[in-house]
């Protein structure tokens, strides 16, 4: 399985965020996205997760399930925890377990087929199963959100600053889970400053260009809606 991104260009709110980003990543590899803050790392992750429309460029997954889009192969672990305070930890987790469609692929054997309570145990928050999420601490909430990746097997993990709000111990658990996901043939695309000691780790370095004018997109449309497919 290989994810191919070809000259992705992203614009949000009329502002050019990044352009011509090209990379490929195949199963069993991790891609660490690095660069100064505000340069567009999160936007790239959201583009891959299909949450942000791409202005131009193509994204394709070789070896995935034919009739499913790329995002349907992904888990997205962003800044927000997506937890409902009035629901208990178990209710939150079992909802996501029955809502997300698991992905079975050759060459991707994942142990992320845990039951909701087992996932809570592995992340040492089993005791909070029947507590409303509102009572959980930030770190516990973060681990509850992380548990979502363990209850439904999906090959691609998209993680935006996964180690934020985690203490040292939880960071080790996180690293362990990421390592086992990679070794199981999964893909991780993460924007993080965490030193990730994994065998095949690639780095995607974001940088401000040299300021040359971009002839690619017709410049008259600067500030206007998507003109790409109209031309």
């Amino acid at each position: 399985m290989k994810l191919i991104c070809d000259s992705l260009t992203c614009e949000r709110g009329g502002r050019r965020v990044f352009e011509n980003v090209t990379f490929q990543i195949s199963s069993g590899e991790a891609l660490i996205v690095r660069g100064p803050n505000g340069v567009g790392k999160s936007s790239l992750l959201r583009v891959i997760a299909g949450l942000v429309a791409v202005r131009s460029g193509k994204m394709a997954l070789e070896g995935g399930i034919e009739d499913r889009t790329v995002p349907e192969h992904c888990h997205y672990f962003g800044h927000l925890d997506a937890l409902k305070p009035s629901l208990t930890a178990l209710e939150n987790l079992s909802f996501w377990r029955s809502f997300y469609e698991p992905v079975e692929l050759a060459g991707f054997s994942s142990d992320a087929t845990l039951g909701a309570s087992e996932a809570l145990e592995t992340l040492e928050i089993g005791h909070t199963a029947h507590l409303p999420a509102a009572f959980l601490s930030a770190g516990q909430r973060r681990r509850l959100s992380l548990a979502r990746l363990l209850v439904v097997p999906r090959p691609i993990w998209i993680m935006d600053e996964p180690s934020s709000a985690l203490d040292a111990a939880s960071e080790r658990t996180l690293l362990g889970l990421m390592a086992s996901h990679i070794n199981g043939g999964g893909i991780i695309i993460a924007a993080t400053h965490l030193p990730l000691d994994l065998p095949n780790t690639k780095y995607l370095e974001f940088s401000r260009g040299d300021g040359r004018d971009d002839e690619g997109l017709a410049e008259d449309y600067d500030g206007f809606g998507d003109s790409g497919d109209f031309l």
């Binding site: 959201r46 429309a53 997205y76 997506a82 009035s86 209710e91 029955s98 469609e101």
Partner: protein, 222 residues
């Protein structure tokens, strides 16, 4: 448990729980209905004439009240991103959320309508008619309101704007709802015609609402 029932159960639980908003709709409905006689006067004959309209307007406002949090709460805590990303068709997600919202806020309005009808001195047949029209009409209010909620999801205080956008679209529901209810008590027109129009609008909204709201959510996602 397939994903739709899981979503429905979750949405219903959130709405039914203490901070949810299910009961607030009914309290607001009660408040609106009780405020009318203070304005119009306690004359029972007059109240009987406008009773159906009072209940319908109360139900419309109560439904609009709870709608702006339909998608906004999910957007703020990141759930909306995950729902849209999951690959489930947004139209069905909207439909299930509307069903849960109706079950949690719309249905209680219908159940409480007969009780509140006593305040406006409606006789039994009229109470039955109003409740039936509300039962058939409130889903259309929720589904049309979902379009307004979807379009204003990214706005900070979208609630007021939502009502302004939705009320013109809800006028046909109000017209046929009230006229069906009053016709049951022997108005000039037969009871069935407006009721069937109301059902038609509800079925139409069943399609238009989710499709338009789903498109609006996709647009607001980045």
């Amino acid at each position: 448990m397939n994903w739709m029932t899981a979503l429905f159960v979750r949405e219903f639980k959130i709405a039914a729980r203490v901070g949810g908003g299910a009961l607030i709709g009914v309290l607001f409905f009660l408040a609106v209905v009780t405020v009318f006689p203070f304005g119009v006067g306690p004359d029972l004959k007059m109240l009987a004439r406008i009773g159906a309209a009072v209940l319908w307007i109360g139900a419309l406002l109560a439904t609009l009240l709870g709608l702006d949090r339909l998608f906004q709460a999910d957007r703020e805590d990141g759930t909306l991103d995950l729902l849209l990303m999951s690959g489930r068709p947004p139209e069905l997600i909207v439909l299930v959320k509307c069903a849960a919202h109706w079950a949690a806020t719309g249905l209680p309005l219908v159940i409480s309508a007969p009780v509140l009808a006593l305040f406006v001195n409606l006789e039994p047949t009229a109470i039955g008619a109003v409740t039936l029209t509300l039962l058939v009409g409130t889903p259309a209010l929720t589904l049309i309101g979902a379009v307004g909620a979807g379009v204003t999801v990214s706005l900070r205080r979208g609630g007021v704007l939502l009502s302004i956008l939705v009320i013109p679209l809800a006028i046909p529901v109000l017209i046929f709802g009230v006229s069906a209810a009053t016709a049951a008590v022997g108005g000039p027109t037969p009871f069935l015609t407006p009721l069937l129009y109301l059902c038609a609008i509800s079925l139409f909204a069943l399609v238009l609402g989710p499709v338009a709201a789903g498109a609006a959510l996709r647009v607001a996602s980045d």
